[in-house]
């Protein structure tokens, strides 16, 4: 406080020397600038939040209100859209299915990618760089080209319409991504740490779990975030590989669009519920996100 006061006082002194603006006016101006930036920030946040607000607003309205006049908040508040989703097993099972295969996919991918990324970051072997690059190119192929081969393959081995089928199909895209992200984090950990651990008598598994993984936990958190995002919103593979037992929520949402119009209310409610898992994941990895976007390459 005293420091600030001093600064202000000094500022005023300088102002009286160099500026024609009186200290009172200047204080006003600072306050105005302060308000202006708050206003802009508020406006920015309002604009950012508006679509989500609109979605929530729609999800609490009846279809006739949505299609009638534009209302800023529900005139006839209704929870029917949510009740409909939570009481109809074919609706809520869509969420359960999606969460199941996303969780499976995250688990499989991370347990495959961790050792693979470690190998890329610690060992040199013939063609290692090429292999690493080749893995990345897998991400460039559009999922659509894999649709029919995947369908045929999973069908012939009896995995069609199972959660594991979708989880495995997503691995094709998620494993290279995960290896790439994790490799960056692992490479930033000095090799000397591995060596020190061996000298201290750590076995490799113990070292990996007790020392190494905690050092790259930001990387793992962020990797899981990306895996979730890809798997949660991916619809093309998921709907081709499933029918009834494992169909994703995105597929079920398509039933709101019919020849007698769109069931806007239910669609909005389903949309709101679809955002929630994403928000939860972001909340849990929020501290790692900044580091994650640097991908460990500091």
């Amino acid at each position: 406080m005293s420091y600030q006061l001093e600064n202000t006082q000094r500022g005023e002194k300088y102002n009286t020397i160099f500026s024609k603006v009186s200290p009172a006016k200047r204080r006003n101006r600072t306050a105005r600038a302060h308000w202006r930036s708050r206003l802009l920030l508020g406006l920015y946040l309002a604009l950012m939040i508006l679509p989500i607000y609109w979605l929530i607003n729609m999800s609490l309205q009846t279809n006739s209100e949505i299609l009638g006049s534009m209302t800023l908040w529900p005139q006839n508040l209704t929870f029917d859209n949510y009740i409909g989703i939570f009481t109809d097993s074919s609706w809520y099972m869509g969420y359960v299915n999606s969460m199941l295969y996303v969780a499976m996919n995250m688990l499989i991918t991370i347990s495959v990618a961790l050792p693979a990324a470690y190998a890329f970051s610690r060992y040199t072997f013939i063609g290692d760089k090429h292999l690493f690059f080749w893995l990345l190119t897998n991400l460039m192929a559009p999922p659509a080209v894999f649709l029919l081969p995947y369908f045929q393959l999973y069908y012939s081995v009896g995995l069609f319409d199972t959660h594991i089928a979708v989880a495995l199909a997503h691995c094709l895209f998620n494993i290279p991504l995960a290896i790439w992200i994790l490799e960056g984090f692992m490479s930033s950990v000095p090799k000397e740490i591995d060596e020190t651990a061996y000298i201290d008598g750590y076995s490799f598994p113990r070292f990996f779990v007790k020392i190494f993984i905690p050092m790259i936990r930001s990387g793992i958190g962020v990797t899981l975030f990306f895996l979730f995002m890809f798997s949660w919103v991916e619809l093309l593979l998921a709907r081709t590989l499933t029918a009834t037992d494992a169909q994703p929520i995105g597929m079920i949402m398509t039933r709101t669009s019919t020849a007698s119009g769109i069931d806007w209310g239910t669609l909005a409610a389903a949309g709101v519920l679809t955002i929630i898992p994403g928000i939860l994941v972001v909340y849990f990895v929020r501290n790692h996100i900044a580091k994650g976007f640097a991908l460990g390459r500091t």
């Binding site: 069609f160 319409d161 709907r239 029918a243 009834t244 669009s257 020849a259 007698s260 769109i262």
Partner: protein
Amino acid sequence: MQKHYNKSRLTKFKLTTLAAGLLLASGTLSAQEEDTRAIAERLVDEHFQNSTLSREEQIEELMWFAKAAEPFRGMDIQTVAEGLTTHVYESEVLAEAFSELTGINLTHNIIGEGDVVDTMQNQMQSGNSIYDGFVNDTDSIGTHIRYGTTINLTEAMENEWADYTLPTLDLDDFIGLQYGTGPDGSLYQLPTQQFANLYWFRHDWFQREDLQEQFREIYGYDLGVPTNWTAYQDIAEFFSEHVGEIDGTKVYGHMDYGRRDPSLGWRFHDSWLSMAGMGSPGVPSGNPVDDWGIRVNEDSQPVGASVSRGGATNSPASVFAMQKAVDWLRDFAPPEAQGMTFGEAGPVPAQGHIAQQIFWYTAFTADMTDPAVAVTDDEGNPLWRMAPSPTGPYWEEGMKVGYQDVGAWTFFDSTPEDRRTAAWLFGQFTVSKTVSLEKLMHGLTPIRESDIFSEQMTEMAPKLGGLVEFYRSPNESNWTPTGTNVPDYPRMAPLWWQNLAPVMSGEVTPQEGLDKLAADMDSTMNRLARANVFDSYAPVLNEEQDPQFWLDQEGAPKAKLDNEMPQGTTVPYDEMMEAWMAAGTRQE
């Protein structure tokens, strides 16, 4: 002796056991039958009180299902349909009732229409069974008869399904059977739901004397149900430009949509061009040219869509129809309509500021009769009416008047026979007389004549704005889905919206858009023919020649008329209804 005694004792024991077993078995059987009867009775009392059958007949029909399904008891099967009120009812009420009655664990999945088509295509192409039964629009009949993987229902009912076909199915009672029938007369798809597109207008506004007078003053004839496109255009102009406002609200004389979206294609290939008179007379399929403009030869083989090959997709009648679609959307519809899709534009007339719509789906009836909407009076009676759509200058007697969407049960040979048969039982259950009237009252999509003529529908009629009258008229059969001329619906439908979206937005002229569309359709048919994917009726394209050659001949494609906008004509609604009903009523 001992041995003999033992033997006789053994025999006696065996006989006793057998007798006891038989007694027990018959006891179990009759107990089982009693259980089933109890279930059937409860289902009828709880869910299916409205039926054209007596309660006892309903129970008998349900008992037949339970008995026929015995070999499949405990089986898990899955069927699929798009999200319409009717199918939701089938999925929530009928599937559950069927499972309870038969012991077959059935899931009737509801997904988007596009997904149903994709999944079906996936099953057809890969030969792997995804669903055991599909409810698929009969627009795909041309696809089903050609690929050879769809079950021929007529043949199956005579052979492998002879014991599994409901004795009281009564095929003659169905109203849309012709749409699922191939050129060989065999049934491929069994209707379970249907709705039509009709003209829709604000009856209350049309009845207002001040508006009637004003209209007569400007146009020289009476404001009424338009019978040609000139009158439709005049009425659209009248409300948009001359009336302008009613009760302080801006009103429009036309509603349509123009967004680049698959639903844009429906409007045009379903009916728009044929309402203008592009095709040949004949229902359900115009012969030789049908409502997509595809010409077929005597053997039902497609020979071309372009005028240069004898088709009519880019004929003068089509160009006229497209030009009107563009002009009316621009001049008489609300400005936001240009950016809307079918689903967004559909509910707009219910908001109360649209005077008429040339092409309105009866699937919206239930939403439009909701007492909360602006187009019903205080008692919930509709202020609007539906009537046949006006026809264009190229239209002639005997041609289709509009579109009918018929969702029908479809089965594929890639589904294992037992599963397919179990699904066939459910399919029949959803259309059986025990449940069909109750289903009609929920979804307003009739499939049986006996239901349409039921007392219950007579009672509902005043609330439905003409729906019941429409279906009671024998003229209803002039509303038809896509016919057998289209060889591969899923592959060809996207060509329509992709080529016609730029026409609707004014980037290219109707002639340019339609020329491109016709050329694309020809090349797609040619490619499919070369790939040798069809089992029967494969396309054999005509050689290209000067379009004038075809235009000079009788019938479609028709040469350009000197006057495409003759004097507008209208009829009063009540008179039209009388004439409509005087066409005779359907035989009950």
